[in-house]
Each structure stands twice: as structure tokens, then as C-alpha cells.
């Protein structure tokens, strides 16, 4: 009977390769099970996929791609939603639907770039400060972080965007500057407690280098909250970006952006309501989607359940 068991292990040894992929498939199955338990997560996933699809294929999908450049057609100005212009047209006769789709592009691009810069910076600083918690390294990094967290984020972004030229780049710089401290805070807390865990102590006692401990022992254990926060943050970055562009500090006309479209439309409320309502709904749609998606990611990566 004991031989029986070891024989099983031998076959496992031979079939190592297929065994591994089984393992991965099993993992994916668990992830999907956890993710799909909440139906809103699936809705969120659909919205996210649709948003990405719209953003990538905007020039193909949009019925009037020329409407995002310099374009005026007063004959068709201010048309309400109809068959050829499903979201209606604005005061220059441009198709709102086309401009909303192109706004997706700008908004998602902004989120991706902002997070691509803010997350690595914030995470790295948080890791270092957390691992050396209680020393002067921790004090310096965390006090600087606190300064950034203490400034009201919108005002900071407004100030930065106002000093620089008002365009998409400077609004991205502004949002990045106000975004990284949140990741530092998040990772700092986890790294502080993880560095007291015995597997980290053991790596130290074995004599592993500091970068190895930071990036191979501590970082992998922080990834799931980071990913969850990133998924949720995509929506929030879009919202902040829209707010900046609403006050005229984002993408400049004629290139469309959600905030700018809403602020343009607001002047013609309530007569040309479609100019405001559709971009606003688009923002709500995308933020809701990323929030549901983020919740799903959190459930999926949660080890407890």
C-alpha cells in the first residue's frame, strides 16, 4: 500500500510537464470561480472590455471620424438624437457619438500612462520605507509622502496644470504627481508587516541581498492589493482627468474629452441636453465598470475565501 503511493508519485514525476499545466488550469479555474461569484464583476468585465475595444478601434467604429478635427457644419448643428446621429450633434454640427468614442481613447490612454508612472514609483518607495521602517529612511520617505497627501489633490493638480501649458501631457503630469503617494502608503503598510514575517527573516538569515528580499520576497505578497487598487483607480483617474478638462486644463479643442464636452454642453442646457448628458453617461458607465471590475479582482485575489 505504501508502494502504491510512491508509484503514484513516480508517474507524477514523469508527467511533470502536463502536471504543471494542470496546476495552472486549476489556478485559473479557482480565479474564475472567485471572480464570477459576483455577477456585477462580470458586468464590470464586460464594460471594461467594451471601453478598451472602443478606445482601440475608435477610428473604425466612429461614424464620422473627421468630426474630431477642425470641422464645422452649421446645417447639421444642434440636431437631437436621430438615426444618423444617435447621440445628436453639437453646436458646430459634430457628431456627439463620434466624439464620445474618441474621448474614451484619451481617457484610457491617460489612465494607463498615469498609472504606469505613478504605480512603480509609489510601490518602490513604499517597499523601501516599509522594509526599513523605524529608521531615518522610513521617516524621510513617509514624511514627503505625507506632504503630498496633505495637499488637496484637485488643487495640487490645478496648480500644476496651470503652471504648465494646458494640454493632455500637463494634466497627466499633474495627476501622476498626486497619485503615487497612495501607492506608497498602501505598500508601506504591507511591507512593514511582511518584513516581520518569518520567511523574510529567514532570507535575511540565509544572507540574501536586500534587492532580492525587497523584490522577490516582499513584493509578490503585495501584488494583489496593488492590482485591485489599479483596477479601481483607472476609473478615478478618468474622473479626475474629466474634472481637469472640465475647467479647461486637459485636452484642448478640437480634440474631444469628456470634461470639455460636458462644460461646452452645459452652456446650452437644457435645450441641447444631449450635448451634456451623453458624455456624462459615458463617464458614469466607464467608472462604474472599472469599479465593478476592481471589486471582482479583489474577490479573485483574496486568499481568505
Amino acid at each position: 500500500m505504501k508502494n502504491n503511493i510512491s508509484a503514484n508519485e513516480n508517474t507524477a514525476d514523469i508527467k511533470k510537464k502536463s502536471f504543471l499545466s494542470d496546476n495552472t488550469r486549476e489556478k485559473l479555474r479557482i480565479y474564475w470561480y472567485k471572480f464570477s461569484r459576483n455577477k456585477f464583476s462580470i458586468l464590470g468585465l464586460c464594460i471594461v472590455l467594451i471601453s478598451i475595444f472602443l478606445a482601440v478601434f475608435a477610428p473604425v467604429i466612429a461614424p464620422y471620424p473627421q468630426h474630431v478635427k477642425e470641422f464645422v457644419d452649421y446645417d447639421k448643428a444642434g440636431l437631437p438624437p436621430c438615426a444618423s446621429y444617435i447621440f445628436g450633434t453639437d453646436v458646430f454640427g459634430r457628431d456627439i457619438f463620434t466624439r464620445v468614442i474618441f474621448s474614451f481613447r484619451g481617457a484610457l490612454l491617460m489612465s494607463v500612462i498615469v498609472l504606469a508612472i505613478a504605480v512603480p514609483v509609489g510601490v518602490l518607495l513604499g517597499l523601501i520605507a516599509g522594509y526599513y521602517s523605524g529608521t531615518w529612511i522610513d521617516v524621510i520617505i513617509m514624511r514627503i509622502t505625507d506632504v503630498f497627501l496633505a495637499l488637496p489633490p484637485m488643487i495640487l493638480a490645478l496648480a500644476i496644470a496651470a503652471v504648465l501649458k494646458p494640454n493632455l501631457t500637463s494634466s497627466m503630469i499633474a495627476v501622476t504627481v498626486m497619485w503615487w503617494p497612495w501607492y506608497t502608503r498602501l505598500v508601506y503598510g504591507m511591507a512593514t508587516s511582511l518584513s516581520k514575517e518569518y520567511f523574510v527573516k529567514n532570507a535575511e538569515l540565509i544572507g540574501a541581498s536586500k534587492p532580492y528580499i525587497l523584490f522577490h520576497e516582499i513584493l509578490p505578497n503585495c501584488l494583489s492589493p496593488i492590482f485591485t487598487k489599479m483596477a479601481l483607480d483607472v476609473g478615478w483617474v478618468i474622473l479626475i482627468g474629466a474634472a481637469l478638462s472640465f475647467v479647461g486644463l486637459g485636452e484642448q479643442p478640437p480634440t474631444p474629452a469628456f470634461g470639455q464636452m460636458i462644460s461646452d454642453g452645459a452652456r446650452y442646457m437644457p435645450d441641447l441636453w444631449w450635448m451634456t448628458i451623453f458624455p456624462a453617461l459615458a463617464i458614469a458607465f466607464i467608472i462604474l465598470g472599472f469599479n465593478f471590475f476592481g471589486d471582482g479582482i479583489r474577490d479573485m485575489l483574496d486568499r481568505g475565501r
Binding site: 500500500m1 505504501k2 503511493i5 479555474r29 479557482i30 472567485k34
Partner: protein
């Protein structure tokens, strides 16, 4: 039987997981007589705590289901009781002491107010005046051999040591008269000397109040000290039951034997090799005897069929084909 207080018949408890049902408790039979101290011994993950939580119906009903079996408490099935009836049983008849005294006490209320709550909502003492309640609380604390009860009543759980907290938990379980006390490893989280004190106290109190006790433990030594009769549990099955003396004199089931060999002895002589292997997967358990993959004296029949429980002598039952 007249004398039987709790009678668990063919109880099964399953947990819902993403892979299917985990059949954690697999048809166990267990009874407790009035005034009897029963030990339930098994290794971690064998389902002993699950069984006892089912008795009080405190399992999360979202994940745990009871597909079969009945739990007769004084000939009434706990599993079929309405909420009000169940609350009566919980209030008047059965209480439980958990493994973690720190988790069992609320950190934001004083010990006194937590004990007073139990008195205030009990059936027996709800008409007492405030001072009567207080003196009852003081008496209970004195019963668990804590000096200076007034000071203890006014302190918060974090101000007390682990042993003190476990004493408070025992006091809370015994403040109103009960018929059955379920103690879930009350000494495991404590130091050896304190554990010894707690066990002795528990034994003395249960005997004095003529209650029944179910002692859940993973240690054969603890079960030997505290119980009259011992059930040995493995992977959701009761594999052997006997009077304490008989069990230690004449252990029969291969699992019981293996377990006894593993315990380090005070007279030295080394430690046996242990029992080969690990507890089985509960989702797809072995079709026959659940101990079969680890059993040193396994036979062909063990793989296919579940061994029925047979009586070797009066009060000594074992679930193994060896004694069939």
C-alpha cells in the same frame, strides 16, 4: 435510554466548496449520559469541532449543510428545532468553551458586564435585582478560583493573563445551571502549568455540579485525565470508543494504536515512526475505510467497503475489519 442526555445519530456535515462538497463529518454516532465526561480525541481537521458546532447549530449555514442524521438532546432533535426552542437550549442546557479565550471575550466591555449580560438574559435569574446579580457574578468568579473577584469584574480582558481569561470563559459557561458543557481544547493555547490548572478546575466544577462534559482535544493525555469514556475520531468517522481505562489498556483500532505510539513518553525510549501519510481529501475521500491509505494492517476489503462498527466487549466498539 433514560439516562442519555445527548444522542448523535448518523450525523453527516458537508461543507460547500468550489470543487464540490467536502464530506467533513461522515455519519458519526455519539452519546453522552447524564453526569458523564466524554472525551472526543482526534487530530486537527478530523471534524471534531465541526461536530460540536453542529450540536449548537453555530456553523455558517451558507457553507455547511447537514444532509443526514439527528442530534437528540433529551429526545428532541436539535436540527429540527425552531429558532426559539433552539435559543432555549442554548440558554439553559448547553454551553461551550472555545480554544481561544482572547477571541471569546469582547475587548471593549469589562469582564463584569459580560458576565452580567448572561445573568440578565438567562431564564433562571432574569428577575433578580441588580445586587443579587452582582453577588451571583462574584460567586461565579470565586468558583473558578480567582482571588479578588471584585477587581476582576471591573477589568477589561486585555488586562488579564491567558489563564485568567480562560477561567473567566469557564465562569461564563457555568454561571447559569447547565446540563452539558462542551469544552473545545480549553488548554491548548495556554502554557503547560496553566493548562494543568484549567483542566483540574474544569474537572472539579463539572463533577461538583453533576454536569455532563464533552472534552474535545487532540491530546490523548488530556482525554485520559479528564474523561470517563473516549471517542477516537479520524477523518469524520468515530473509529473507536471505550471506557478510558479500557482504551489505554487495550487499544484496538490501528489508528488509535498508531496515535499512542506517536506520543512522546516521559520515560524516554525514542519516538515511533509516526503514521504514514496525511489526512485524506474530504471532497473525494477513499471509498472504503477512510484510514485505509495510511493503515499498516490494511486488507483488500478495506479499500472497497466501509467498516461497520462492531462491539468487542460491552462499551468497547471499534470500526475496523480486523475485528469483524
Amino acid at each position: 435510554m433514560e439516562n442519555t442526555l445527548l444522542d448523535i445519530k448518523n450525523l453527516k456535515v458537508w461543507y460547500r466548496t468550489y470543487k464540490g462538497y467536502a464530506k467533513v463529518v461522515d455519519g458519526i454516532n455519539l452519546f453522552v449520559n447524564k453526569g458523564e465526561k466524554v472525551g472526543l480525541v482526534g487530530e486537527s481537521g478530523c471534524g471534531k469541532t465541526t461536530t460540536m458546532k453542529t450540536v449548537l447549530r453555530v456553523l455558517d449555514s451558507k457553507v455547511a449543510t447537514v444532509p443526514e442524521g439527528e442530534i437528540l438532546f433529551k429526545n428532541r432533535d436539535i436540527l429540527k428545532m425552531k429558532y426559539n426552542e433552539l435559543q432555549q437550549v442554548r440558554k439553559q442546557s448547553i454551553s461551550m468553551i472555545s480554544q481561544e479565550p482572547t477571541a471569546a471575550l469582547n475587548p471593549v466591555f469589562t469582564v463584569g458586564s459580560q458576565i452580567m449580560d448572561i445573568i440578565r438574559y438567562s431564564e433562571q435569574y432574569k428577575d433578580y435585582s441588580k445586587s443579587e446579580m452582582l453577588s451571583l457574578a462574584v460567586k461565579t468568579i470565586k468558583d473558578v478560583l480567582i482571588p479578588d473577584p471584585e477587581r476582576i469584574l471591573n477589568s477589561y480582558p486585555h488586562q488579564l493573563s491567558g489563564g485568567m481569561k480562560q477561567r473567566i470563559c469557564i465562569a461564563m459557561a457555568l454561571v447559569t445551571p447547565r446540563e452539558l458543557l462542551i469544552a473545545d481544547e480549553p488548554g491548548t493555547a495556554l502554557d503547560v502549568t496553566v493548562q494543568d490548572q484549567i483542566h483540574k478546575l474544569l474537572k472539579a466544577l463539572v463533577e461538583e455540579k453533576k454536569m455532563s462534559l464533552i472534552m474535545i482535544t487532540h491530546s490523548l493525555g488530556v482525554a485520559r485525565e479528564l474523561s470517563d469514556r473516549i471517542y477516537v475520531m479520524y477523518a469524520g468517522n468515530i473509529v473507536e470508543v471505550a471506557q478510558t481505562k479500557e482504551l489505554f489498556k487495550n487499544p484496538l483500532h490501528p489508528y488509535t494504536l498508531g496515535l499512542m505510539e506517536c506520543v512522546p513518553r516521559l520515560y524516554g525510549g525514542g519516538i515511533s515512526e509516526g503514521i504514514y501519510g496525511y489526512i485524506p481529501d474530504y471532497i473525494n475521500p477513499p471509498a472504503g475505510c477512510r484510514f485505509y491509505p495510511r493503515c499498516p494492517s490494511a486488507m483488500e476489503i478495506c479499500e472497497k467497503e466501509k467498516p461497520p462498527t462492531v462491539s468487542v466487549s460491552e462499551d468497547h466498539k471499534v470500526a475496523c475489519f480486523k475485528y469483524h
